[in-house]
């Protein structure tokens, strides 16, 4: 799956549009988990909405296209997409899934609605059986079908939502902060479930959006770092965690807690400053007001992509560093 040049803005009355996502492109290979990391307000949830084809006004998609399953289509005007795409092509695993289930309906009734929305000829019985079979394959108790949401624990609800989202075997699952409201053991169970879903090939790709970088190091194959609506860095998990290039990535890694006491000794405080107002973002590189390596050019011009498609950082300083290294090498 490939997304190109997604731009999505919020219309806020008379004030200028909030550019939540401003030119984001990446790809997700089959069988892969791509992590998208960033602070709150960097635009990741907006990106999730756009990718899961659920963007509605006041969120307006201004540009971008998606290639998936052999077809390429524009991401603008999402309300006009065929309903079939929702859930079969792309599926969303929403944040706060505990509240995403209708409190006055049993789980099995909701399952029936979802299945029949895509194929009205399916009998309710058959839909429920389909769900039960899937639950068994994933080693989850079948009795959740008979329950109302409030009868299930938070962690269980999240897993049920994960199962329902993937019931129709979508090509890609967009998981938007799926674990942020869970306790640690529930988080682990959810992650195991997601990995199992991939293994059984019920879904073929996962885009995992979170602010929790350590979580990504457990589950993601590749990581994309987002800041203020733009991509800061992209690379494999190993590369990002052990060799972060972008100053923002470095700061993110440094500000996470590490159980290793030696690492903890080197901890700094969190990143200075606060995420920018996306209605009037900083000029040039959006990170420049908070960057420890800021240079003159950073406030004037947007940074270039330094590196290749699958491994780059968008930073003037990184460019300078790599030029210095190349100069040193040619000098030798």
């Amino acid at each position: 799956m490939i997304v190109k040049n997604v731009r999505a803005y919020y219309a806020v009355g008379s004030r200028p549009d909030v550019k939540a996502v401003d030119g984001v492109s990446f790809s997700v290979r089959e069988g892969e988990v791509l992590g998208i990391a960033g602070e709150s307000g960097c635009g990741k949830s907006t990106l999730a909405a756009v990718m899961s084809l659920t963007a509605r006004p006041p969120l307006n998609v201004k540009g971008g296209e998606m290639s998936l399953n052999g077809q390429t289509f524009s991401l603008i005007e999402q309300t006009k997409f065929p309903r079939d795409w929702h859930g079969k092509l792309v599926a969303l695993l929403p944040q706060r899934a505990m509240n995403s289930l209708n409190p006055t309906a049993r789980v099995r009734d909701f399952v029936v609605d979802v299945v029949r929305a895509h194929d009205p000829t399916v009998q309710p019985r058959a839909a429920i059986d389909q769900a039960r079979e899937r639950l068994e394959q994933l080693s989850l108790p079948a009795r959740v079908l008979e329950s109302y949401p409030h009868q299930l624990s938070g962690g269980m609800r999240q897993r049920v939502v994960a199962v329902i989202s993937t019931l129709l075997n979508p090509k890609v699952l967009i998981a938007d902060e799926p674990t942020s409201a869970l306790d640690v053991s529930s988080q682990k169970q959810l992650v195991l479930l997601l990995q199992l879903l991939l293994e059984c090939r019920f879904i073929t790709r996962i885009v995992y959006i979170t602010h929790d970088l350590p979580m990504l190091s457990n589950i993601a194959d590749r990581i994309v770092i987002m800041y203020a609506g733009k991509l800061a860095e992209i690379g494999t998990t190993h590369e990002i965690v052990n060799n972060p290039q972008h100053p923002y990535t470095q700061a993110l890694i440094a500000s996470t807690l590490d159980p290793d006491p030696q690492v903890r000794e080197r901890q700094r405080e969190g990143i200075k400053g606060a995420p920018p107002d996306l209605g009037s973002p900083p000029s040039g590189c959006r990170f420049h007001p908070r960057c420890p390596y800021v240079m003159d050019i950073c406030s004037r011009e947007e940074p270039p992509i330094v590196g290749e498609e699958e491994r780059f950082a968008a930073c003037w300083w990184v460019l300078e560093q790599s030029q210095k290294t190349r100069n040193k090498e040619t000098q030798r």
Binding site: R83, L92, P94, N99, T104
Partner: protein
């Protein structure tokens, strides 16, 4: 005890408490008149010429005996309760020797036949309209809704008067008064039935319109609130159709509406009674109206008691229904880790 059972018990206790208070108030309040109430009332009547001296004596004696007005207040209360237990509401002052309970039981069926369907229809249609208006927006929200908002803020009798004038007097489509044609006597014939229906339409319509208006305004606000809910966004993201989502919203927004219904029943019933007066409909409302005009205290007290009990019972039933419908109360705790 399950959650539902304790909920039910709670509601039953409330009902009993409110019932006792209602009885006591019904007994006490009119006795705030200083002096002997029967004296004053009968005296008024004889001087006004509505009762002859002899009949007045009889009524007077009957009341003193029945209510033991020379007895201390707590004994009077016991008499009162005793009579109530027998279903005896006393004798009407103005239409003696007619008994209050007979007058009421004659008028009651008309009122129930009018109000019950009106409240039910108004509730169902009004809430459905509310959800649709909130979800579909467009012309429903801009055109139809403000009309309903206007109608629902009208006092019931105002709409009743308006409809009566426009459709019965000005345009003579509908009959102008009564529960059935004055020329007829009640009988199980088609003619009579048709006359009843004819006379029923206007009062029914005026009530239903206002109920629909009121419910739709509230339901629309509730639905707008629900539209933002996570489950709506999630269901949409999985491709679930609009009709199903509207059903979800209805079910969820309906819960606070049921509670609201319980609270509003009191005013709905009283409003409907006053509307009866406009149409001279032979129900409890008209009975009350004439009783007030004639200072017929026993009838007034009988009717107010009836209204109180009726509203309390309706309240109780609605609360029970709520317990059934809200799965959080009804479903047993399963619990799961």
């Amino acid at each position: 005890m399950t959650r539902f059972q304790s909920y039910l018990l709670n509601k039953v206790l409330w009902f009993l408490l409110a019932f006792c208070i209602a009885l006591t108030l019904n007994f006490l309040l009119p006795r705030l008149i200083p002096g002997n109430p029967v004296d004053v009332i009968v005296g008024e009547m004889t001087s006004g010429g509505t009762l002859s001296g002899e009949v007045a004596q009889k009524v007077y004696a009957a009341y003193i005996a029945q209510f033991g007005l020379d007895q201390p207040i707590w004994m009077q209360f016991l008499f009162y309760l005793r009579s109530l237990a027998r279903g005896d509401l006393g004798i009407s002052f103005a239409r003696s020797p007619a008994r209050v309970q007979d007058l009421i039981s004659q008028a009651l069926p008309w009122t129930i036949a009018l109000q019950l369907p009106a409240i039910l229809t108004g509730w169902i249609v009004g809430n459905s309209l509310g959800v649709l208006t909130a979800y579909k927006k467009g012309w429903l929200d801009r055109g139809v809704f403000p009309i309903f908002m206007f109608i629902s803020s009208m006092p019931y009798y105002c709409l009743a008067i308006l409809l009566l004038y426009l459709l019965a007097v000005h345009l003579t489509i509908f009959p102008v008064a009564g529960g059935y044609s004055f020329a007829m006597t009640p009988a199980l014939t088609w003619n009579f039935a048709r006359s009843v229906v004819e006379h029923y339409i206007l009062p029914f319509s005026s009530l239903v319109l206002i109920f629909i208006g009121g419910q739709s305004v509230g339901m629309r606000a509730m639905s707008i609130y629900e539209l933002d809910a996570d489950y709506v966004r999630y269901s949409r993201s999985l491709g679930v159709g609009d009709n199903r989502i509207i059903a979800y919203i209805f079910r969820n927004a309906m819960l606070p509406q049921i509670t609201g219904l319980a609270l509003a029943i009191g005013s709905m019933v009283s409003g409907a009674l006053i509307a009866e007066i406009v149409f001279s409909y032979p129900g409890v409302g008209t009975l009350l109206f004439s009783a007030i005009r004639q200072n017929d205290y026993p009838v007034i007290q009988g009717v107010t008691l009836l209204i109180m009990i009726g509203v309390l019972t309706a309240n109780f039933l609605v609360d029970v229904a709520y317990g059934f419908i809200d799965p959080r109360i009804r479903a047993k705790q399963v619990g799961e880790r």
